[in-house]
């Protein structure tokens, strides 16, 4: 059944909004939009690293959802349905632009690649919490293919079998790309932390 979330201030619940939206109620559409806009927009923004593009994709995702709302029967959570649709909208846009949704299969790095260090240089451990802006910028700087897998898995919580189905790769590839993305982010965050420590 659709989630019967109650809202404050006497507003429509999600379940009520869905039923009213099926009847063409403008307020119901807006209620559903307000309930989910942040999640959808953040997903689009993380995957594209471009605010204008993310807004266009957010608009497209909601329009696709609202056009099909008459077919929603509540077998799954509404948010899940919307989220899947949003991911597909973003991936289609990336494919249209010939941007790599996920890099080609390749094995995990060797020990040499993962542990290489500058001889004699101390490598401070990445610890503590990372502020939102730093990690946001770090994710934006990832190559598109790594960014897609990282956002879907670590930010949005998709499992590897779901990612593999969405982006059209193997589960093994999804895992290896995620590992590479995390390694890259680790390096970026360590570098930015070191640079910040040097600045007076």
């Amino acid at each position: 059944m659709a989630t019967a979330r109650k809202l404050q201030g006497g507003e429509l619940s999600e379940a009520e909004a869905i039923e009213r939206a099926k009847q063409g109620d403008a307020d119901a559409f807006q209620t559903l939009y307000n309930l989910h806009k942040r999640r959808v927009y953040s997903l689009c923004l993380r995957m594209t690293a471009n605010t204008a593009e993310a807004e266009d994709l957010t608009q497209e995702a909601f329009l696709q959802l609202f056009r099909k709302i008459g077919t929603f029967r509540g077998e799954s959570a509404f948010s899940t349905w919307l989220h899947r649709m949003s991911v597909n909208v973003v991936l289609m846009r990336l494919r249209k632009k010939n941007l790599p949704v996920v890099p080609l299969d390749d094995p995990l790095e060797t020990e040499e690649e993962t542990t290489k260090k500058e001889p004699g240089a101390a490598d401070p451990l990445l610890t503590g919490s990372v502020d939102r802006l730093r990690i946001q910028r770090a994710v934006e700087s990832l190559p598109p293919g790594y960014r897609t897998i990282f956002v879907l898995h670590d930010v949005e919580g998709y499992e590897h079998n779901e990612i593999a189905e969405l982006v059209g790769c193997s589960i093994g590839n999804s895992k290896s790309q995620l590992h590479k993305a995390r390694m890259k982010l680790r390096d970026i965050l360590k570098t930015s932390r070191a640079e910040k420590a040097k600045t007076p």
Binding site: Y33, K37, R38, Y41, R67, E109, V130, V151
Partner: protein, 206 residues
């Protein structure tokens, strides 16, 4: 277990559990332990990026316009009126179907009146007591009265409505000079009054 073997299964260790052998290596090997801890931190911190941003208001505006244009937003049926009720925000998408309804209704009424003798035509009662706001309105109503007396009350009622709409739109534009929507609403209000005048004088010239 070697470091290479450990790092090959590191993604599974971070996302799920670990075997006794893997746990043992984690505890024994400083390098692998540091790597595993850092990657775990990266993975966990990523969640702060979930749902934290908000799109600009234009996104909803664009969605709403598209929904109305596609007929997915269906307003409840309104009482007969030649001019829409005044509203602080007027969506341009409503103009097309409203104008079409307006013209069709006038056409039907005009056909009806033309087919009946004057003494058999019922006078349309206004929705409220009406008085023209200014001299221009009075002149227009006189022109309508001369040609089709039965329509005077309808035009008078709708002049009241459109004048109230203009007053609301002017107040909104004055209070929100930087608001483009308020400016658009005001232009549409004037356009609506102009349309009423055009229909009235077009009728009176026939």
């Amino acid at each position: 277990m070697t470091c290479k073997e450990f790092q090959e299964v590191l993604p599974d260790i971070i996302d799920g559990g670990q075997t006794v052998e893997q746990e043992s290596h984690w505890k024994a090997c400083r390098e692998c332990s540091d790597l595993a801890s850092e990657l775990t931190l990266v993975s966990q911190q990523a969640k702060i990026l979930r749902g934290g941003d908000e799109p600009s208001p234009r996104v909803w505006n664009s969605i709403e316009i598209a929904l109305r244009a596609e007929g997915l937003i269906r307003q409840p049926a309104a009482a007969f009126t030649l001019v829409p009720s005044p509203a602080p925000r007027w969506r341009m998408g409503w103009l097309v179907p409203l104008t079409a309804t307006f013209l069709l209704t006038l056409g039907v009424v005009d056909y009806y009146l033309a087919s009946k003798p004057a003494d058999q035509v019922a006078v349309v009662q206004p929705a409220s007591s009406t008085k023209p706001v200014d001299d221009d309105d009075a002149q227009m109503l006189e022109a309508v009265s001369m040609k089709t007396p039965a329509m005077r009350a309808a035009y008078e009622a709708n002049l009241q409505d459109v004048n109230a709409y203009i007053r609301d739109a002017e107040a909104s534009a004055r209070n929100n000079p930087a608001d483009e929507e308020a400016q658009e609403s005001l232009m549409e209000a004037y356009s609506q009054k102009n349309m009423v005048y055009e229909m009235a004088f077009d009728r009176s010239l026939r």
